[in-house]
């Protein structure tokens, strides 16, 4: 038996012509399969019409407002993170640019890396020569000064230095033996 047009008609919402409606009724009289389909679809339609709309739990709007606020905070956080990344990338780029500029300056000042190294070797050698000169001056003074002072001068100098040492020891003894004030 061919059920195809009848099944389509049964499940269609389009209105049928009188002839088609009659043909469908005649078919349903003798076709159990289509009758079951008709009854099943009717059952579904009745069930759908019978169940009410489902409501959310009370406080839905408040929960939505909280969600909106939380979403805004999250967006702000993401925006700040992006801004931080952009800033970091900017700083890195600026540092790289500075290095490039310094490198260019370096290349302009010195024709090559060897020139740069030689300059520092010259500067180091000049510093060592300076220290050597100072050392020579000090040694010369130590060699010439003792011969220039007479014996009497040395004795006076010894007494002055000895007196100064005794005075220093005495003052230190007096300072350490003074009674301490009670702390407030």
């Amino acid at each position: 038996m061919n059920h195809l047009p009848f099944e389509i008609w049964l499940l269609s919402e389009e209105p049928l012509s009188t002839e088609d409606s009659q043909a469908l009724q005649d078919h349903l009289q003798e076709c159990e399969q289509c009758s079951r389909l008709r009854e099943a679809w009717s059952g579904v339609e009745v069930l759908f019409a019978d169940v009410p709309e489902i409501e959310p739990q009370p406080g839905f709007v408040n929960r939505w407002q909280e969600r909106l606020e939380s979403n805004r905070q999250m967006e702000k956080f993401i925006r700040y993170r992006w801004q931080s990344w952009i800033m970091l990338i900017g700083i890195a780029n600026a540092a790289a640019l500075t290095l490039v500029l310094l490198g260019a300056q370096f290349l302009n000042t010195y024709d090559s890396l060897m020139d740069y190294l030689l300059t520092w070797v010259y500067r180091g050698a000049a510093t060592l020569t300076l220290f050597n000169g100072i050392q020579e001056i000090i040694f010369t003074l130590f060699r010439t000064i003792p011969g220039a002072i007479p014996l009497g001068g040395w004795i006076v100098l010894l007494f002055v230095l000895g007196g100064a040492v005794v005075a220093w020891i005495y003052s230190m003894f007096k300072l350490t033996s003074m009674p301490r004030r009670a702390s407030q």
Binding site: W9, Q25, E53, I54, E55, V61
Partner: protein, 204 residues
């Protein structure tokens, strides 16, 4: 309500959050119901409904005022739920329903017997809708819970009118088949609404 809606929309478009909260208040029930029918459990429905309103809020400037706001909003909810179905297929983790028990739909104030009867029917609806593909399910919900025309469903789901007719026809066939397999646990149609048996389909 429509005048209020227009006023709320104008204010919401100017950045008034309270006005949009009024819109959420008015449409929470249809949006939640759509999400519940699409996803089948209260926790996912709550999340989807909240997210749908959030998406609507964010894309409010793109809303064409010549269109129905309800259609536009339900379209957003519908697409979100269809996406959730796609994700579910990839995500094998199950949600702990007991954790979200507080989100169960509120008791409509029925007697225990009536509440049980209603709960059984809701479960049957869920089982029936579960047999459908997400887009077909969305079309069925819009047609049978919101009385949307084919054109409105087509606009919401971004498909042609003939595709809507085709999807609805296929869905009815599947629903009828599923109903037959659910028998005899189902309630008899004759017992529920004997008067509807006379003329329940435009075909008769």
């Amino acid at each position: 309500v429509e005048n209020n809606e227009s006023e709320w929309l104008v204010r919401a478009l100017k950045g008034d959050d309270e006005a949009f909260a009024q819109i959420v208040e008015s449409y929470q029930k249809p949006v939640y119901n759509l999400c519940y029918r699409m996803l089948g459990n209260p926790s996912d429905a709550e999340d989807a409904a909240q997210e749908s309103f959030l998406r609507a809020y964010k894309s409010l400037k793109r809303y064409d005022t010549d269109r129905s706001f309800a259609t536009w909003l339900l379209s957003i909810a519908s697409h979100y739920c269809i996406d959730q179905h796609r994700k579910r297929r990839l995500d094998t983790l199950s949600v702990d329903d007991e954790q979200h028990a507080w989100l169960e739909p509120p008791d409509p104030g029925l007697t225990p017997e009536a509440a049980l009867h209603l709960s059984e029917k809701q479960e049957q609806v869920r089982e029936l809708l579960d047999t459908l593909a997400p887009k077909d399910r969305s079309a069925v919900i819009m047609r049978y819970w919101y009385d949307y025309s084919y054109e409105e469903i087509a606009e919401s789901l971004v498909i042609t009118v003939s595709a809507v007719k085709s999807r609805l026809h296929r869905a009815r066939r599947e629903l009828a088949n599923c109903w037959q397999t659910m028998q005899p646990s189902n309630l008899s149609v004759d017992r529920l609404h004997p008067e509807r048996m006379q003329n329940e389909s435009p075909a008769f």
